[in-house]
Amino acid sequence: MKKFGWKGLFAGLLQGIFLLYTTVICVGPFIWVIISSFKTNKEILDSAFALPTSYAFDGYVRALDMSPIFHFFGNSVWISVINTIISVLVVAMAAYVLARFHFWGKKAFTLLLSSSLLVPVSALLMPIYLLMAQIGLLDTKASLILVYAALGLPTSLFILRGSFLSIPREIEEAAAIDGAGPLRIFFIVVLPMARSGLATAATLHFLTSWNEFMFALVLTKSESVRTLPLALNYFSSQFSFDYTAMFAAITMSVLPSILVYILLQEQVTSSLVAGSVKG
């Protein structure tokens, strides 16, 4: 076969190098965090890239002891999952309309929604705090769910609009001729076809809300509603620090995000299999 010529070999080599390099710079930091969670504070500061002298779980014990990490963990799962579902669904409906139909003011509307992406957190905090106080949602999970659902809005909108634009119109038109209403078409026909876009938007949205710190800090005060990123701040203050415990806490908080990521991406892959059968 001709693709095994010199050119092909060279291209393959380049690809190999590129993949290797990507793996190193992407996996490196992750491994570093895990290894550091077994090193003593002294070892971390003395030689950042050396291996630990022993593999003890002290850091994990201290992390669990010092911060209410398990409690926060449960809250984080609840808040991130619910707000991701709400946000992706709400945004998908709007993105579908924006991708499919022409109406007056559409461009201005899209740009207005994009503008929300760039309102700095510093400008959002105080008004949102007041708003949540007014509607009695301060210090509740609902406040974070609402805010996070809105925070991811513009990015999800871009992604979902892009993926709806890539779906052929004919299928919807056929469904419409069969007498299906717009809601039915959207939920039964369009959404399943946009599964990969939905999963991508959901992944990014989940990660954003999983790691959000500032609103979690300002809008909550009870342990029963606080989230994981707050727990990660328990391990360093101006004159004292416990890096071992911090990296242990980070390790514990990262694993579920990776799990969610893998599960959602599996969704993309399986939807592709289904799609190619259809196609």
Binding site: L19, V33, A99, F103, S122, S166, S196, L232, F247
Partner: protein
């Protein structure tokens, strides 16, 4: 298909409500207060355009806007290119491609605080990874303070996100792999090489997603501040200061809300302009088919 107005409204309404609930007050507040004097612990007063005039003469604003634009452009081109390249390679679905797909997202998963600590150690003068590698390759001890020397701070900070295109990769990968197989088969039967297929068949078909990726990459640089804050803090001097970081510092350190909000207005306008331009460039109002 001609939709009824009520249908359109019903689809848009939840999103509009969410947007209004969370963003209307802040947006109005940002815009209105940018014409006021508003600082913590000082009486509120009308300031006219003085905040904007101040921003125009502020050398930190000039540096910050410059760096912000530079990063937007670098991210929209190099970063997106790297991410897309990786997506094309993974789209071949060789054995273990799923592992790579997970791997390239890892840096987006671990917290910024951890990433900042790692990067500080990578670029450290003494015992840093970069200097260690250079010393190893050249055989003589090399010492350079990448982050805190004014000449290398900017490129060193840039590398902290430029080389991590995981998000672009998964966006592009999802789009590429959803192209029906028979289309590609047809091209192959016509004798197209895989490079030709990538450039002539696949790339035009994922135009919209590519546009989305460029928007996501560009706008992320209009928001980026945490990693800078945790590594160089915008320094040395203002060598790595960008607009979001300057806005943050003005609001939270200087407590000058009105000035911070005037700069926010500039940032929002800049962002809307950039999103609009990218939309036009990629003709994103049109369907792929």
């Amino acid at each position: 298909m001609k939709p009824k107005k009520t249908t359109l409204a019903a689809f848009l309404l939840p999103c509009i409500l969410l947007f209004l609930l969370i963003y209307l007050v802040p947006l109005v507040l940002v815009a209105v207060s940018s014409f006021a004097n508003w600082r913590i612990g000082q009486p509120l007063s009308f300031a006219g355009l003085s905040n904007y005039v101040q921003a125009f003469h502020d050398k930190n604003v000039r540096a910050a806007v410059g760096h912000t634009l530079l990063w937007v452009i670098a991210q929209a081109t190099i970063h997106v290119f790297l991410g897309t390249l990786l997506a094309f390679i993974l789209a071949k679905k060789f054995r273990g491609w799923k592992v790579f797909r997970t791997v390239c997202m890892l840096p987006n998963v671990i917290s910024t605080a951890a990433l900042a600590m790692i990067l500080l150690n990578v670029f450290k003068t003494d015992g840093g990874l970069v200097n260690g590698l250079i010393s190893l390759l050249t055989g003589s001890k090399f010492e350079w303070n990448w982050y805190f020397n004014s000449s290398t701070a900017l490129p060193a900070v840039t590398l902290g996100w430029l080389l991590y295109p995981g998000m672009i990769t998964i966006l592009m990968l999802a789009a590429i792999t959803s192209i029906p197989n028979d289309l590609l088969e047809a091209a192959r039967i016509d004798g197209a090489t895989s490079l030709q297929i990538n450039l002539r068949v696949i790339l035009p078909m994922v135009r919209n997603t590519l546009g989305t990726s460029v928007i996501v990459a560009a706008t992320s640089m209009l928001k980026e501040f945490e990693l800078i804050y945790l590594t160089t803090n915008g320094g040395p001097g203002n060598a790595t200061l960008n607009l979001p970081l300057y806005i943050y510092k003005t609001a939270f350190t200087e407590n000058n809300y009105s000035y911070s909000n005037a700069m926010s207005v500039l940032l929002i306008l800049l962002g809307v302009l950039i999103v609009y331009a990218i939309n036009r460039l990629f003709r994103m109002e049109e369907s792929d088919y």
